[in-house]
């Protein structure tokens, strides 16, 4: 089941309908508040496991195992028993699980390469979908309990936090401090939440199945044989990929935010129009916010952050970004992607220190945005390419003019136009609200008006009409 499927729509309606039945006034009158809450959580928990088991039911046990570890550890931590030992266990076990499923073969192959060992065996391991997301949630929950940021919760609540289906397979990585308090809320399902959630969902669906999936046709072609294409085509493909990955991932996040909203839960925004960033530091405050803030809080700061001198700060930055790159996948291309971002963050830190107190002009800001975007696009080449040869061929073709097949892909231009329009709209909105910062927003309409309903129906119809109908999985499912 993916969000962009008819099966999910049916699944959602069943889950929503069940909760709605248990929310009915007559039942609410006869049941205690705690029972009502337990019922709602039980339905959501079962639904989440069904959702996950749809891919491969065996991995439900893996999730259950991680939940049990988190529960045992946090229970002991909150009772003050061997706090450090249980925190250690609560962190190491999820990392071992992640390491085994995601990185075992990668490390074995790398070891063999380094020491020139031929032969030997790697394991035929299936990567459980969404493992990087729920292992991170599991271990951060343990750390948060250890730090006293959240109180220990019941097994069922921890299980729901780790497995909650809207964010289970591709994030956003939800903080326990944000989610756990919401589990105590016993408000009935609200029509206003459904209306808002549905619109956010459709917005995300449009980004995914119309923009990202249509662009994938072009991007996949060019990245499979870059040397066959002209430089202009390759440049357009790289720009297209920057939009594809943004719409694919932020589209999924929007859908997750929308679905959670329908059930009355709020997730923080995971993206905030990242391509207007004036530097790489700002980019990481706008791109995959839940991961970058997670890495900052649970990796960069524990490593020492910027508290241990300049050199350590740069080393910490590099290490955080390299590990962040590796989190995306067991491939050296992701390591290079992380390393490039890490280096850029270090350079920006140095530059910012030198330019302290300097107010940039509008021209300066524009140049900064362009340079940052170009740099991010070059990094995306490593992220997208299957190997270094392809990445280097793409970059060579981009910068050394060459003839070849020229494909002026229609959806690339449509996507660029839409992205520009959305950015301009966000800029106008920031001016109107006198906001110093341009922020993204969801265009949520009042579905009690003919105008609001008309726009919503048009959005739904256009999404269905222009949807890419071949299978195109979410990029972040593999992570």
């Amino acid at each position: 089941v993916t969000f962009a499927s008819f099966v999910f729509l049916v699944f959602f309606c069943i889950v929503y309908g069940l909760i709605l039945i248990f929310n009915s006034k007559s039942l609410r009158r006869n049941l205690s508040e705690k029972t009502q809450l337990n019922l709602k959580h039980t339905i959501l928990l079962i639904a989440s496991y069904v959702f996950y088991g749809w891919w491969d039911w065996r991995f439900c046990f893996l999730m259950l195992f991680l939940t049990t570890i988190a529960w045992i550890c946090t229970k002991n931590i909150s009772e003050g028993k061997n706090k450090r030992l249980y925190t250690f266990i609560g962190v190491v076990f999820p990392l071992l699980v992640l390491g085994f499923f995601k990185y075992f073969n990668f490390f074995v192959d790398s070891f063999k390469d380094v020491f020139g060992i031929s032969g030997g065996r790697t394991l035929d391991i299936i990567l459980p979908v969404g493992i990087s997301f729920y292992t991170f949630q599991s271990l951060s929950y343990t750390i948060d309990v250890f730090r006293g940021k959240v109180q220990n919760s019941s097994f069922a609540d921890i299980a729901l936090y780790i497995s909650f289906f809207p964010q289970l397979v591709a994030g956003p990585i939800v903080r326990s401090s944000d989610f756990m308090p919401q589990l105590k809320n016993n408000d009935p399902l609200k029509l206003s939440n459904l209306v808002e959630g549905a619109q956010i969902f459709v917005f995300g669906l449009f980004k995914k199945i119309v923009i990202a999936d249509n662009l994938s046709v072009f991007v996949d072609d060019i990245f499979s044989k870059p040397l066959a294409y002209s430089s202009v085509t390759v440049i357009l493909a790289v720009i297209s990929y920057s939009i594809q990955i943004y719409c694919d991932f932020s589209g999924y996040s929007d859908m997750a935010v929308g679905v959670a909203k329908c059930f009355g839960y709020n997730f923080n925004a995971n993206f905030n129009i990242p391509y207007i960033s004036k530097n790489v530091s700002e980019f990481w405050k706008r791109w995959h916010i839940s991961l970058s803030s997670w890495l900052q809080e649970y990796l960069y700061i524990p490593l020492g952050g910027n508290r241990k001198g300049k050199v350590r700060t740069y080393i910490n930055l590099l290490l955080t970004m390299v590990l962040g790159g590796l989190w995306h996948g067991a491939n050296y291309t992701f390591v290079v992607w992380g390393l490039l971002h890490g280096l850029a963050l270090c350079i920006h830190k140095l530059w910012a220190a030198k330019r302290k107190g300097h107010t940039p002009t509008l021209f300066g800001k524009t140049v900064s945005v362009v340079i940052t975007y170009v740099f991010v696009c070059i990094c995306w080449v490593f992220f997208r390419a299957d190997n270094f040869t392809i990445a280097l061929d793409v970059i060579t073709r981009m910068f050394i003019p060459h003839n070849g097949i020229t494909q002026i892909f229609f959806w690339a231009w449509v996507s660029i136009l839409l992205v520009v329009i959305c950015h301009v709209a966000a800029g106008i909105r920031a001016r109107r609200t006198h906001s110093a910062k341009v922020n993204g927003f969801y265009a949520v309409f009042d579905l009690n008006t003919v105008w609001g309903l008309t726009v919503f129906f048009i959005a739904v119809l256009l999404t269905l009409m222009f949807a890419y109908t071949n299978s195109s999985p979410f990029i972040y499912f593999q992570f």
């Binding site: 044989k225 040397l227 066959a228 097949i405 494909q407 229609f410 105008w451 609001g452 109908t469």
Partner: protein, 333 residues
């Protein structure tokens, strides 16, 4: 209750407004005429006569159908047909503008070089080579071409089941859906597009059909009979059937065209065509030449996979050149 009823009224009004807006969008993006059954037996169905069609799903082109329901817009028409063009959506000219269609280009070339020939196109979507063979008698009866019948095809390797049905005279006719509820639904471009999207999605999810395995001997017998029947269709007349084979060229990592390697069944088809006096044009060399000169592939558009899909303007030009060379060269009939 009153509030709910009011909301439903608003929703209905909004639904109508939204439908009108997307219909306007569809008028440009996906405006396809209705299929009609007709007295003409050269094709299983025809399009609405005199209809305008626009399609943006692969490339973008606006075309018109003539009084018979085919795409023929070359201005200098003749009453008699010298060359009849048959084939599928490729021949019909999906996604290419009318003056880029190979029939149009061919007529233009005849006109410019002073050759008194007129080609008429009855290319129609889903009319594969075997379907065209099945309709050959009808095509000769309806259009009475005096010189050639060129049949465009993207494959010359067929499923034995299809060949068996063709040889047994049991080739099923494509339905026109020009009556009843389905006909009414087809009048709405939005509904047609949504239906097409649904069909595409189902096709993407559907498992691949397994074809019956037959020995080369068995296949030879089947294809032999099919070609023998096709050659009998023209009887003793002076009309020559020519198969125009348009394979999809592939290219390697460095952009070089991968040489075409025909399998045994494809080679057999070409060989048997010769035996039955059916002409065979393999478009591969024309496509390859064009690509090496201009990097243009014969298939695919600005909205599709590179080099895959319907034949584009470059491909149509190559086909027009190849047919022109064939006719001008006076290939023996």
């Amino acid at each position: 209750m009153k509030k709910t009823l009011l909301w439903f009224l608003k929703a209905a009004l909004a639904g109508i407004l939204a439908f009108l807006v997307v219909t306007a969008v569809c008028h440009f993006y996906y405006n396809i005429p209705v299929r009609r059954s007709s007295d003409i037996s050269a094709t299983d169905y025809v399009w609405d006569a005199g209809a305008v069609s626009s399609r943006g799903t692969e490339g973008f082109a606006v075309t018109h159908t003539d009084e018979k329901g085919y795409v023929n817009t070359y201005p200098e028409k003749k009453d008699s047909v010298d060359i009849l063009i048959m084939g599928s959506s490729h021949a019909e000219g999906f996604n290419v503008s009318e003056d880029e269609n190979f029939t149009y280009l061919l007529n233009e070339k005849f006109s410019k070089s002073g050759i008194d020939m007129y080609a008429y196109n009855i290319g129609m979507s889903a009319h594969t080579l075997l379907r065209c063979f099945n309709n050959l008698d009808g095509a000769i009866k309806d259009f009475a071409p005096s010189e050639y019948i060129f049949i465009e095809t993207s494959t010359v390797d067929f499923s034995p089941e299809e060949l068996e049905r063709l040889n047994a005279g049991e080739f099923e006719v494509l339905e026109a859906y020009d009556k009843g509820f389905l006909y009414t639904l087809q009048k709405s471009d939005v509904i047609r597009l949504l239906y097409s999207q649904l069909e595409d999605a189902n096709a993407a999810d559907a498992p691949k059909e397994e074809t019956e395995e037959v020995s080369l001997e068995g296949y030879t017998a089947l294809i032999d009979k099919a070609l023998s029947n096709a050659s009998k269709s023209v009887g003793d007349s002076d009309v020559k059937i020519v198969v125009v084979y348009c394979p999809t060229p592939e290219f390697d990592y460095n952009g070089k065209i991968v040489p075409l390697e025909m399998n045994e069944r494809e080679k057999l088809f070409e060989e048997l065509c010769g035996e039955y006096g059916i002409g065979f044009i393999n478009m591969f060399s024309y496509f390859e030449q064009r690509y090496n000169a201009t990097y243009e592939l014969p298939h695919g558009f600005t909205n599709s996979h590179v080099g895959v899909g319907h034949i584009n303007a470059a491909g149509h030009t190559c086909i027009a050149n190849a047919i022109f060379d064939y006719v001008e060269g006076g290939a023996s009939k």
